[in-house]
C-alpha cells in the first residue's frame, strides 16, 4: 500500500505546485460581436497539463494569445510567471514556449533549418546548440528526417517539430494551441507522452483542444463555451456531477436510431448518443433509466450503468442535448428501396499521384439507409476515396458507383441525387443566408412553387428567419453548420456525402446535426461520412479504417472494438481500436517485407 501513490498524496503534491498563470476577470471583445472572452478567471499551475477545452469559437486561441502578451485584454488582468502581460510582455515571451495552431514552421525549410532559424530567433547561444538539438531531435524522434522539408512532413511530425522549436530555450511554461488537430491518434498519444514528460520537470503546460477525450486526460481543465468559463478544476470533478446517471442501452437489434429518437423525447433524459450498437444515456438525477425505454424497443433491451465521461458532464452542464425529433426528417419523403443493388459501390478504387498511391484498391458497398464511415488520420487517403466517389477525382483504377451511376461519366443527372457537405461548410460567405439558400435551390434545378416551398421549409426548420440577411461568414459556427446542412439537403438527395461534418462544433450542435442525419437515414437516405473524429465514427453502421491509402479493417464499430479487446482492456474505445489495428497492420507489413 505504501508504494502505490494514493489520491491523498497526489493532491498534496498538487497543492505545492506553483501558480504560473493567474487570470482575473479577463474580457476581450472583437468589434461589436458578443465578447470572445467574458470575465474569465482561473489559475494555471506549473508541473501539470492544463486543458483549455471548448468547441471552436469558444475563445481558446484568444485566451492563449492573451497569455503570450501578443494581445491585450480589454478588462481584467493576466499575470504570467509573475509578470503582467500588458506591461511586461517581453519578459513573458522570453520565458515561455508558444506553439500556435498553424505551426510557426517554414514549410520550405528543412527540419534542421527550422531549428536553426528558431535558435537564432530565440537567441540560443551557438555553443549550446549541438547539445540542445541532439536532445530535442531524440526526444521528438525526428533525427532521421533532419534534411526533410517541413512542408513534406505528416501532421504529427509537424506538430512534433513545432514542439521542438517551442522547447529550444527550455521554457518554464509551454502554450500549445490545439496540438491535436490534424494529427493521427498514434502521433497524438506520442505527443501527449512527450508533454507529460515535460511536466515532470516542473514545466507548466497549457494544451488547448476541442476534443473532449483529450480534456479528460488533463490534470486540470478550464472549460470554455462561447467565451464564458463553465468550469475550472480537475476533469474528474466535472464528470462526477453525472455520477450514477449515465447508462448504456443495448440490445435494440439494429433499431438503435429509432429507439434513440424516442428516448430523447422522454422526460428525465438529458442526453443520448449512439455509441456503436448501443445508446449512451444521461438521466436527470433520481430518474429511472428503465422508464425511458420505449415499450416496443424489444425484449432483449438491456440498461446498465456505465462510467461517465467528460462529454456527458459538459452536455449536462449546457442543459442537456436537443430532442430526438428531426423536423427535417419528418418533412422528408420516404425513399423506397429500388432493387437490391447497394446505393454506393466502390470496387478496387485506386488513385495514384505520380508514384504516390493515395488510395489503394478500396472496396466496399453501402446498402440503402445506412451510414458508412471512412475513418483515418489526415492524409491517409480517405478524402481521396471520398472525392473519387462523389466525382471530384477520376480513379486511376477501379470503379465507383452512386445510385447505379458512375459519377465521372453520367455526370449531372447522378449529381442531382447527392448532397454534399464539406468540413469547412463550403458556403458562400459573402452571400446572405437567404442568398445561399436561393443559390443552392437554383443550381439543383428547383424552380417555381417547389423552390419557394423548400426554401421556406428550410428557413422554418433551421430557424433562419431572423438572420436571413446576414452574411453567411458572420454567422456563429453552429448556424453555419445548420445552413450547410440545409443547402445540402434542399433538393432531397438520396445520398449524402459528409466530409468531417461536425469537427470542432460544440456537442449540442453536433447532436442536433446527427439527429437530422439519423432521421433522414431512417427515411432511406444513404450516408457516406469521412472523419478522423472517433465520436463521429460511433454513429456509423459500418466503418472502413483507412491507413496509408489502404483499408486495413472493415466492420461495424462494435466489431472493430471487439477485434482488439484484451483481458486488460475489455471495453476498448474507438481510438484504442484504431491504434491497435494500425499497429497490427504495420507489423504485418513489416513481416511481409
Amino acid at each position: 500500500m505504501a508504494d502505490t501513490p494514493t489520491h491523498v498524496e497526489s493532491s498534496k503534491v498538487e497543492s505545492s505546485r506553483p501558480d504560473f498563470i493567474r487570470l482575473a476577470e479577463v474580457t476581450k471583445r472583437f468589434g461589436a460581436t458578443p465578447p470572445a472572452l467574458d470575465k474569465v478567471s482561473g489559475i494555471i499551475r506549473g508541473g501539470e497539463i492544463t486543458g483549455l477545452v471548448g468547441p471552436d469559437g469558444a475563445g481558446k486561441t484568444t485566451l492563449i494569445r492573451l497569455m503570450t502578451g501578443l494581445m491585450v485584454p480589454e478588462e481584467g488582468s493576466l499575470m504570467v510567471l509573475g509578470f503582467d502581460t500588458v506591461r511586461q510582455a517581453a519578459e513573458i515571451q522570453a520565458a515561455i514556449g508558444y506553439m500556435p495552431q498553424r505551426f510557426g514552421l517554414y514549410e520550405d525549410l528543412t527540419i534542421q533549418e527550422n531549428l536553426n532559424l528558431y535558435a537564432d530567433l530565440r537567441g540560443l547561444p551557438k555553443s549550446e546548440r549541438p547539445a540542445v538539438f541532439e536532445e530535442l531531435l531524440t526526444f521528438t524522434d525526428l533525427k532521421r528526417f533532419t534534411a526533410r522539408l517541413a512542408g513534406k512532413l505528416s501532421g504529427g511530425m509537424k506538430q512534433k517539430l513545432g514542439l521542438a522549436c517551442a522547447l529550444l530555450k527550455k521554457p518554464r511554461l509551454l502554450l500549445l494551441d490545439e496540438p491535436g488537430v490534424g494529427v493521427d491518434p498514434i502521433s497524438r498519444r506520442e505527443l501527449w507522452k512527450m508533454v507529460e514528460d515535460l511536466t515532470k520537470e516542473g514545466i507548466g503546460v497549457v494544451w488547448s483542444t476541442a476534443y473532449l477525450d483529450e480534456a479528460e486526460a488533463c490534470d486540470r481543465v478550464l472549460l470554455l463555451n462561447q467565451g464564458k468559463l463553465l468550469f475550472a478544476g480537475e476533469p474528474a470533478d466535472l464528470t462526477s456531477r453525472v455520477d450514477g446517471r449515465v447508462f448504456r442501452l443495448s440490445g435494440t437489434e439494429g433499431r438503435r436510431r429509432q429507439v434513440l429518437a424516442q428516448v430523447l423525447n422522454r422526460d428525465g433524459v438529458i442526453d443520448g448518443v449512439i455509441q456503436g450498437d448501443a445508446i449512451r444515456l444521461v438521466m436527470k438525477a433520481g430518474t429511472d433509466a428503465n422508464l425511458a425505454v420505449p415499450k416496443d424497443a424489444g425484449a432483449d433491451v438491456k440498461v446498465e450503468p456505465t462510467p461517465p465521461r467528460f462529454e456527458d458532464a459538459f452536455v449536462d452542464m449546457l442543459g442537456g442535448g436537443p430532442g430526438g425529433r428531426s423536423r427535417l426528417a419528418d418533412a422528408a419523403r420516404a425513399l423506397p428501396q429500388e432493387g437490391d443493388r447497394p446505393v454506393i459501390e466502390a470496387h478496387g478504387l485506386t488513385k495514384r499521384f505520380g508514384d504516390f498511391t493515395a488510395s489503394d484498391k478500396i472496396t466496399f458497398d453501402i446498402p440503402r439507409g445506412q451510414i458508412f464511415g471512412l475513418l483515418g488520420p489526415n492524409g491517409a487517403g480517405k478524402s481521396t476515396t471520398f472525392k473519387m466517389l462523389c466525382g471530384l477525382l477520376k480513379p486511376t483504377e477501379g470503379e465507383g458507383r452512386v445510385a447505379g451511376f458512375d459519377l465521372r461519366r453520367d455526370g449531372a443527372e447522378a449529381r442531382n441525387r447527392l448532397g454534399y457537405m464539406a468540413q469547412k461548410f463550403s458556403l458562400y460567405g459573402d452571400l446572405s443566408v437567404a442568398q445561399n439558400l436561393d443559390f443552392f435551390a437554383g443550381v439543383y434545378g428547383l424552380s417555381g412553387q417547389r423552390r419557394r416551398e423548400r426554401i421556406s421549409l428550410m428557413t422554418d426548420i433551421f430557424d433562419f428567419k431572423a438572420r436571413a440577411d446576414m452574411s453567411a461568414k458572420d454567422l456563429p459556427l453552429g448556424l453555419k453548420q445548420r445552413l450547410a446542412l440545409a443547402c445540402a439537403v434542399m433538393h432531397e438527395p438520396q445520398v449524402l456525402f459528409l466530409d468531417e461534418p461536425t469537427s470542432g462544433v460544440d456537442p449540442i450542435t453536433r447532436r442536433e446535426f446527427w439527429t437530422h442525419i439519423n432521421g433522414l437515414v431512417e427515411k432511406g437516405v444513404t450516408v457516406l461520412v469521412t472523419t478522423h473524429f472517433m465520436d463521429e465514427a460511433e454513429y456509423c453502421d459500418r466503418i472502413s479504417l483507412i491507413y496509408r491509402g489502404r483499408s486495413i479493417a472493415l466492420g461495424s464499430p462494435d466489431e472493430l472494438k471487439a477485434k482488439v479487446a484484451t483481458s486488460e482492456n475489455p471495453d476498448p474505445t474507438m481510438e484504442d481500436a484504431f491504434i491497435a489495428l494500425v499497429e497490427a497492420s504495420e507489423s504485418e507489413e513489416r513481416a511481409a517485407a
Binding site: 471530384l392 477520376k394 454534399y420 464539406a422 463550403s426 436561393d438 443552392f440 437554383g442 443550381v443 434545378g445
Partner: protein
C-alpha cells in the same frame, strides 16, 4: 432546368463580387484612379519648363530673342546668367531643362545680313520633354529670323505652313486619352474579376461544392464568364457617359457599333482571365497572373505610345493584343464617324482572339478537374 441552374450561378457570381468589400473596392477604386490620373495628371504635353539664357550679345536682336522666349507661355521661369559655368551647372543639376546661348556677334551678323546661329542646350536625360522644348525654341528662333531684314526679304518667296488638326482641332489631350481609358478600364476590370472568380472558390473551399452540383461544366464556364462581361460593359457605359458629360468629348460615330465590338472585346478578355483563374490556386496568384498580362497588354496597345514607334520585331506582337484593335474602334467612334467596314475589319481579329482565349480557358478548366 439548365436556365434555372445557370441563372442561379450568374446571380451568385454577381453577388459574390458586389457583396465582398474587397470586390467592391476593385470595381470602384481603380476606375476612378485611372480616370483622374490619366486624364489630368499623366499628360504628355510639356508645360512648366525652366530655361536659362546666356546672352553675350549687346544688340537689339539678342534682346528681341530674349523677350520672345520670356513671352512664351510654355516656359515657367526664364533665368539669366553671364557665366557659361553657371549655365553648365544649371543643366547638370536639372535646374533647367534647356539653355540658350546667344553669341556676341548675333545682332551685328544679322544687321550685316550674314548667317548666324543660336546655341540651344537640351537635357537629354529627359529625352521626350527636351525634344518638345527643342521644337518650341526652334519655332521662336524661326519666327525671329523671319522678322530680320534678310528674313523679310525672303518671305515673299518662301512657302508658309498652315497646320489644321482634324478630329481634334485644338489638340485637347483628353480627347485622345479618355476614349483610350474606356478600353483599358474594360480590360482591367474584366480581367481581374474573372481571374479572381475560380481562384476565390478554390481558396474558400467552395469549388468542390460547385463541382458536385448538377451544373454541367459548360454551364459553370458560361456562368463564370458572363458576369465579368456584364460588369465590364457597365464600366464601359459609365466611362462613355463621363467622356461626354464631364470631358465634353464629341461622340461622332455609332454607339451600336461600339457596343457590338465591346462584347467581342470583353469575350476575349474574360477568356484570358478565366485561363489565369483556372491556373491559380489562390486569389493572390490570380492577381499576380492578371498583372503579368495587364502591363504588357497596356504598353503594347497604342495606349500611351504609338505602335509605329516600336521596333519592327515587336510590332507583330501587338497583333495578338485585343486592346490594340479595340482602342482604334473606341477612338474612331468618338472622334471620327468610323465606318462600319472598318469596325468589322477590326472586330474580326478580336473574334479570333476571343475564340482562342475562350477555348483555351475551357480546355484548361476541364484539364484541371482531373
Amino acid at each position: 432546368m439548365w436556365w434555372t441552374r445557370l441563372k442561379a450561378l450568374i446571380l451568385k457570381e454577381l453577388l459574390a463580387v458586389l457583396r465582398d468589400p474587397r470586390g467592391r473596392i476593385i470595381l470602384i477604386v481603380p476606375p476612378v484612379i485611372q480616370l483622374v490620373v490619366f486624364s489630368y495628371a499623366a499628360t504628355l504635353e510639356v508645360r512648366n519648363v525652366d530655361v536659362m539664357v546666356l546672352n553675350r550679345d549687346a544688340g537689339h536682336w539678342g534682346y528681341e530673342l530674349v523677350q520672345r522666349i520670356e513671352g512664351s507661355p510654355t516656359f515657367r521661369k526664364v533665368s539669366f546668367t553671364d557665366s557659361p559655368e553657371v549655365l553648365h551647372e544649371a543643366v547638370d543639376r536639372q535646374k533647367v531643362l534647356a539653355a540658350v546661348q546667344i553669341s556676341p556677334t548675333f545682332s551685328r551678323d544679322i544687321e550685316a545680313k550674314q548667317p548666324t546661329d543660336v546655341q540651344i542646350i537640351l537635357d537629354g536625360r529627359r529625352s521626350n520633354a527636351s525634344q518638345i522644348v527643342g521644337g518650341y525654341l526652334n519655332q521662336i528662333v524661326a519666327g525671329l529670323s523671319a522678322d530680320t531684314p534678310a528674313g523679310q526679304k525672303a518671305k515673299s518667296s518662301a512657302v508658309s505652313i498652315m497646320p489644321r488638326n482634324w478630329f481634334n482641332p485644338n489638340l485637347i489631350y483628353q480627347w485622345f486619352m479618355v476614349p483610350n481609358l474606356i478600353g483599358s478600364i474594360a480590360l482591367l476590370i474584366g480581367m481581374i474579376v474573372t481571374a479572381l472568380s475560380i481562384a476565390r472558390e478554390r481558396e474558400l473551399g467552395t469549388f468542390d461544392q460547385l463541382m458536385v452540383s448538377p451544373l454541367r461544366t459548360h454551364e459553370i464556364l458560361i456562368g463564370k464568364l458572363l458576369p465579368p462581361m456584364m460588369i465590364g460593359l457597365v464600366h464601359i457605359s459609365l466611362y462613355i457617359v463621363a467622356a461626354i458629360v464631364v470631358f465634353g468629348i464629341p461622340l461622332r460615330g455609332s454607339l451600336l457599333l461600339l457596343y457590338g465590338s465591346s462584347i467581342i472585346f470583353m469575350a476575349s478578355i474574360v477568356g484570358l482571365g478565366l485561363f489565369i483563374s483556372a491556373m491559380s490556386m489562390t486569389q493572390q496568384q490570380a492577381i499576380l497572373g492578371a498583372f503579368l498580362v495587364l502591363v504588357p497588354g497596356m504598353l503594347l496597345s497604342g495606349f500611351a505610345t504609338p505602335i509605329e514607334n516600336m521596333p519592327g520585331w515587336l510590332q507583330p506582337v501587338t497583333y495578338i493584343n485585343p486592346l490594340r484593335y479595340f482602342l482604334v474602334i473606341v477612338r474612331g467612334v468618338f472622334l471620327k464617324d468610323i465606318p462600319v467596314s472598318q469596325v468589322v475589319t477590326l472586330t474580326i481579329p478580336l473574334a479570333f482572339i476571343a475564340a482562342f482565349t475562350l477555348s483555351a480557358a475551357a480546355w484548361l478548366f476541364r484539364k484541371r478537374l482531373e
